[in-house]
């Protein structure tokens, strides 16, 4: 079970090192700290909007989870800096990840 397999099913998970418990981002099979293997934490995770801008009707926001994962996600409503959000939709299209937050 890999991050991408889960993501392609629309499930966002958090890669964590089995040995040192470091959260690994971008997702990887191995820890960049201790080189141990990683596993996936599942759940509904809350993130914080660090910054955002807008193209046409859609906002794109940099969102931070657990002080270590940062990604850019789409948002259709007006975001605020430091707003707490959750991933509402995610997946892989044409090889590219996509994330949407509410």
């Amino acid at each position: 079970m890999s991050f991408e397999t889960e993501l392609s099913k629309g499930k966002f998970s958090i890669p964590e090192c089995l040995t040192c418990k470091k959260i690994i981002w971008p997702p990887s099979e191995f820890c960049d700290n201790c080189n141990g293997e990683t596993s996936l934490k599942k759940g509904e995770f809350e993130g914080k909007i660090i910054e955002f801008s807008r193209q046409d009707k859609n906002y794109f926001c940099m969102v931070e989870f657990f002080d270590s994962i940062r990604l850019i996600a789409k948002m259709t409503t007006n975001p605020k800096k430091d707003q707490i959000v959750k991933i509402s939709k995610c997946g892989i299209t044409n090889g590219n990840y996509f994330f949407e937050i509410i």
Binding site: P26, I50, E51, F60, I72, G95, N96, F98, F99
Partner: protein
């Protein structure tokens, strides 16, 4: 370590036209040899090609086209700062004694695959550089209370300066209103805030002290080199309103050259987008955090070409693999006092700042006579 100098250069006008990568590499290299007919090609030990192009074996191809059989021949790819990475590699070959003379030739086509870092999935569906530039712009404006109109001055200044550069893609001048009224790409970025991907090539010849003195009485020495890579992914940037890799690379380069930033008379900084210029000026230490736009305004108001005299990336165009080499040629010309209408006063020590992928990697060079 041996001293390493730049002894010759060649360049072609940057354009939106469709040319083969091999052809433009050949043209800028040919320009170099035509301007320096005394150079014995047999003395060139290494040929390095700076590009993100997918064509194969470009360094041996270029070597064959220009009649060189080098000991060392390979390409170097590092997105937008491939050019200065190649110059640093050439420097290393010479200073280590592995080579006496190295040709560095950079080229890119308008449709370069280096414009988008496919690997960086943290950006989600927002992989085009306009998205990181928008986030940088928003963050910089928010932190320092800067307006879109203030940032637009970078584009106004650099287009004005590019008008004096015969190799620049831009031939027009613009007002702040023109920039603000240009196509809105995002809430925080207009079309004229952006450098344009284009077709272009530039070449330099580096040599050891002994070899340099054989060929020219005006070599420009590379006295400082600083490089830093903090990550590959944009979202790993610790600050969205400053450039950490640039700060570290700049400090290293200045330390190596035994200069402080106040000794720098002229500089090329990597203005891929308007916001990058004040961020780079602040990160290198030309001015304090948040004061970059005051510096840009003063330079513009006094028609001082000290920063980005050739027009920067915004005015000149941005053929990725050629950009760092083109920036370096500009500083060489400034120090040699051959920059024509772009010439700045008392240009004796110059600096080149070239970065990649939202400032995740930076190279800074210090050049002088």
């Amino acid at each position: 370590m041996q001293k390493v100098g730049i002894i010759a250069h060649g360049i072609i006008p940057f354009t939106k036209e469709d040319h083969k990568i091999e052809s433009i590499l050949h043209k800028s290299t040919n320009d170099l040899f035509q301007k320096n007919t005394n150079i014995d090609k047999k003395g060139i030990d290494a040929v390095l090609v700076s590009t993100n192009n997918n064509s194969k074996y470009l360094s041996p191809v270029l070597s064959e086209m220009v009649g060189i059989q080098p000991k060392i021949a390979h390409s170097i790819e590092s997105l937008c700062n491939s050019g200065t990475n190649s110059i640093v590699s050439a420097y290393s070959y010479i200073s280590s004694g592995l080579a006496d003379m190295v040709l560095v030739s950079g080229a890119e086509r308008y449709d370069s695959p280096g414009q988008i870092l496919e690997w960086d999935n943290s950006r989600g569906e927002f992989k085009h550089p306009i998205f990181w530039a928008s986030i940088f712009s928003k963050s910089y404006k928010r932190k320092f209370g800067i307006s879109d109109e203030q940032l637009a001055l970078v584009s106004v200044k650099n287009h004005k300066q590019a008008k004096e550069n015969p190799n620049a893609i831009s031939k027009k001048t613009y007002t702040v209103k023109d920039v603000i009224n240009s196509k809105k790409l995002t809430d925080d970025l207009r079309l004229l805030d952006c450098s344009r991907p284009c077709t272009g090539s530039a070449s330099v010849l580096l040599a050891s002290e002994e070899m340099a003195k054989k060929y020219t009485d005006m070599p420009i020495w590379i006295t400082g080199i600083g490089q830093k890579t903090t990550s590959a992914g944009f979202t790993k940037n610790t600050s969205l309103a400053s450039m950490e890799s640039t700060k570290i690379a700049g400090q290293s380069a200045l330390k190596m050259s035994n200069h402080t930033v106040s000794d720098i008379d002229v500089a090329e900084v990597h203005d891929a987008f308007s916001v990058c210029e004040p961020m780079a000026l602040e990160s290198i230490g030309f001015t304090n955090p948040g004061k970059g736009m005051s510096m840009v305004k003063e330079l513009h108001d006094t028609n001082n070409f000290k920063i980005n005299p050739r027009g920067g990336l915004i005015g000149t165009g941005h053929p990725l693999g050629a950009t760092g080499i083109s920036q370096t040629i500009e500083i060489v010309q400034q120090i040699q006092k051959t920059a024509g209408n772009r010439q700045t006063d008392n240009a004796n020590v110059g600096l080149v700042h070239n970065m990649s992928a939202a400032s995740t990697s930076s190279t800074v060079l210090v050049l002088e006579r």
